[in-house]
Amino acid sequence: MTVTEVPNVAGAIEGLESHLHPQPSFDLADHPMPDGREEMWRFTPMRRMKPLLDERANEDRDGDPVVEFELSVPDGVQTANLASGQAPRGAVLVPGDRPSALANLGCDNALYLRIPANTELAEPIRIDAHGRDAARRSNAVHVIVAEPNSKATVVFRHTGSAQVLENIEVDVRDGAKLTLVSLQDWADDALHAAEHTAKVGRDAHYRHVNVSFGGDLVRMHTNVSYDGPGGEAELFGLYFADAGQHIEHRLFVDHDAPLTKSNVDYRGALQGQDAHAVWIGDVVIRKVAEGIETYESNKNLVLTEGARADSVPNLEIETGEIAGAGHSSTTGRFDDEHLFYLTSRGIDPVEAKRLVVMGFFIDIIRRVGIPDIEERLIAEVERELATTVGIAPAASGTEA
């Protein structure tokens, strides 16, 4: 296996002309066709990415949509469709790469979810997206506005097969608390490029949980900026790259307001020939962002030979007047010595592996903070282990 862990710490240029983040734009002309040598594309297999780089409309047919959406929306939430350019669509997310620009161009009816001020939802909003054809394109835009002092959880679950471009924009207004879970549980031939962009208001709290297990190629941007002091963002992720899978997560936190916090924690397991995981973390601390606190971490657990994990944390600092900033990237291996130790206590080798992988993920899962979601995630990990490793859940329980 191969691992690159090259931390970059650089002084960013005023106006943020960072090489990692070309100027965002709705205009496709500003996002020319990449050739794979660009900094933001160099880890992505361009041949497999190709179907997601052309301008194409939704390839839905009458009674035969590419992606079937099923919505479960609790009372008190307003839903609507937003045409291109119709506010509040586009207020938070400006496309940062070509797939995101294409998603926006190709979608003329974005789903709008508004959680009114002071509303606390007891049940999560659920959006199940089920792909029905690996050869056809779906362009989706979702707009979520959590009004001041509201509290909600939104769970996206992606299954089946399709070529999906997806933008999710999230406006977490002052004092609101929003948890967004995005589960990528695609079939083996799905292609998925997404940009999830959030703006976190004064004293607001945003938690984003990415869970990427399925798909041939999954490339997720998760971006956060702030709209006032005191905002807090937690970006958690877990992923399992199996043989031949490319799973890429690109995180960008723009500390553009003082006294804000961010915590990025991604963990992934890799197994099998040409399993490839990419994690790019970038935190920018602007001159105005005094007193902020940030930490980004990525841990990979490599279970077999032949897998490759690329992990690059970046920190661009324009002010030293901060409470704390750090990052770490580690890669662990489940090796013969771990296996020997656990099996020498009577635990069979398959169960030993399950223990280690579940243990690796459980820390993150426990931090989601919503028992119902946590149980579902544990079940998803169990299922992923059962299908990819042939590990059936054991009778001994799953709690750590």
Binding site: F340, Y341, I347
Partner: protein, 254 residues
């Protein structure tokens, strides 16, 4: 009913190829007996421990080991443990993410073939921790992660107490322990042997631990072979003379 080692030859796999470490070991451990294996560094003591447990790096080239009549070469590492063999390791590995409590319950379930009863099990675990001087908070920590050397050794004996195997191999469990920790660990081993039907293979470089755990037999290893055997008095004699004369004799015979 016993652990019988007959003319055991073992190679260790190195980057330069296999290297013979054990050159014909004979040893019978009956239930209720404590056997101390002593020897200088490089004598093959730990190789014997790992070979018995079935570590893939150590290959038995000839000879046999039977546990209560079962040929161990037929069994995988986990099957050996389920047959009643336990190895307290000299350097227990850290297993991040797997909590001590989850690990102990999973191991106990594997060994017994059924999950332990929840109510009594938690109490048993807490008692074993207390007996070995470990705070109950260790239950929630990742297995061996960030444990000091002494804490790792105590945790091995916690496992011995809870899994209660038929035969226990203790591989230099005493090394690196201060005198208080040594006493606590020895008490744990003595509680285990007090059952009177358990066999212990106590591997050590030093005689110090034999002041706390009384061996019935002492075997001295040099260069992969037993060079002398006797009762507890042999340990006392070694304390005086050291291994030098045995090493010199082994060299002369080589």
């Amino acid at each position: 009913m016993s652990l019988v080692i007959s003319d055991l030859h073992v190679d260790v796999l190195t980057e330069d190829g296999p290297k013979e470490i054990l050159k014909g070991v004979n040893l019978t451990i009956n239930p209720g007996e404590v056997h101390a294996i002593m020897g200088p560094n490089g004598s093959g003591k730990s190789t014997l421990a790992y070979a018995l447990a079935g570590h893939p790096k150590y290959q038995v080239t000839s000879g046999t080991v039977t546990l209560d009549g079962t040929d161990l070469s037929e069994l995988s590492v986990d099957e050996r443990a389920r047959a009643g063999l336990f190895l307290a390791m000299q350097y227990p590995v850290e297993v991040p993410g797997v909590s001590v409590s989850n690990f102990l319950r999973t191991a106990k379930t594997a060994i017994d073939g059924e999950a332990p009863k929840v109510r009594t099990w938690v109490k048993q675990v807490n008692e074993a921790m207390t007996d070995l001087g470990l705070d109950n908070s260790f239950s929630g920590r990742s297995l061996n992660e960030g444990f000091s050397g002494g804490e790792k050794k105590r945790a091995e004996i916690v496992q011995l107490q809870l899994l209660n195997p038929k035969y226990a191999i203790l591989d230099e469990t005493d090394s690196g322990l201060d005198i208080d920790a040594l006493r606590v660990v020895a008490d744990g081993v003595n509680r285990y042997t007090a059952q009177a039907d358990r066999g212990v293979l106590l591997i050590t470089h030093y005689t110090r631990i034999l002041n706390y755990i009384k061996p019935d037999f002492v075997h001295v290893y040099v260069d992969g072979r037993v060079v002398t055997e006797g009762g507890p008095e042999l340990a006392a004699q070694l304390e005086e003379t050291g291994y030098d004369s045995y090493i010199a004799a082994a060299r002369a015979n080589a």
